[in-house]
């Protein structure tokens, strides 16, 4: 099966935003196929927050094949996930 890879890694200060489809999940990592057709592995931490469709979720709610946006920070040679967003989301209300 061809995985339709999508996404990019955006620099956000120290944070990178990794977007794509989940291809593998372990107890401590999520591998994402990005638009560049590269698998990017992001490591999870106890402090990593998850959000599914705008509500608080856990890593268990994430499945292989899901579209995901991970906000991660480089620590040494590893990307560590601060937040993982997945599921359909309502538009964020614009402030002011």
């Amino acid at each position: 099966m061809v995985v339709l890879a999508a996404g990019a890694a955006f620099a956000h200060g120290k944070e990178q935003h990794v977007m794509g489809r989940v291809t593998a999940i372990t107890d401590s990592s999520i591998t994402v196929q990005t638009k560049a057709d590269e698998p990017v592995t992001v490591y999870t931490m106890a402090e990593t927050k998850y959000e599914k469709s705008g509500t608080v979720a856990s890593m268990k709610d994430l499945k292989v094949g899901d579209r995901v946006v991970i906000h991660a920070e480089k620590m040494g040679d590893k990307l560590m996930a601060n937040e993982g967003h997945f599921g359909v989301v309502a538009k964020t209300p614009q402030q002011r």
Partner: protein, 200 residues
């Protein structure tokens, strides 16, 4: 007559200690990445404590911690304070961690043991030589008192409350655009073009 040489010696020693402290401080550099030394923390905290008049220290909060007041203060904190202090008050934000001194984790006793009056005074008057500005007008300001209630609530914050604060955090046009790209990707699978942005 015998007291004079002693006085001169004490003065000379004091000047030497002050000069050595000044020299060491300068040699350490002025990078905001560092943390203040224990001596600097002690001197600054003591000076701050002494600077708050007793009447202000013992002032009582005129607002009760009702859900409405807390909700208003939470929104205010998200908009005005969270950039440095974080929505959870931990101070673990990009700006917060690069200030000198770093903002305290307000959930901890260092902040929670202050009186309501001391917290109000710090918000309302700011703290010189730190990143903490003075908020509100010259007179008594209600918003700062309401923020005191929210700061008291920080140790009991729920993930859902923090989630509700996120849309209220200040964001640049570039950050909003990036957020929209991400939402579009999650909702429709449309792939935004590759972009590299650095936010400083």
């Amino acid at each position: 007559m015998r007291k004079r040489p002693l006085l001169l010696s004490i003065t000379a020693a004091s000047v030497a200690v002050a000069a050595a402290f000044g020299w060491m401080t300068i040699r350490r550099g002025f990078s905001a990445r560092d943390n203040p030394s224990a001596m600097e923390v002690y001197v600054a905290k003591t000076a701050r404590k002494l600077s708050i008049p007793a009447s202000e220290r013992d002032a009582k909060n005129p607002f009760p911690p009702t859900p409405e007041v807390l909700s208003e203060a939470r929104a205010h904190f998200a908009d005005h304070c969270a950039t440095c202090h974080g929505n959870d008050g931990s101070g673990k934000t990009e700006i917060g961690q690069n200030l000198y001194p770093k903002p305290p984790d307000m959930r901890q006793s260092e902040t929670q043991n202050l009186t309501d009056g001391q917290i109000y005074y710090i918000i309302h008057n700011g703290i010189r030589l730190t990143g903490m500005p003075a908020w509100g007008g010259p007179g008594e300001d209600d918003d700062s008192w309401k923020l005191v209630l929210f700061i008291r609530h920080l140790p009991q914050m729920t993930p859902q409350e923090m989630k509700e604060m996120e849309p209220l955090n200040p964001k640049s046009a570039a950050e909003r655009s990036e957020e929209e790209d991400e939402q579009r990707f999650l909702n429709e699978g449309k792939t935004p073009e590759m972009k590299m942005r650095m936010h400083h």
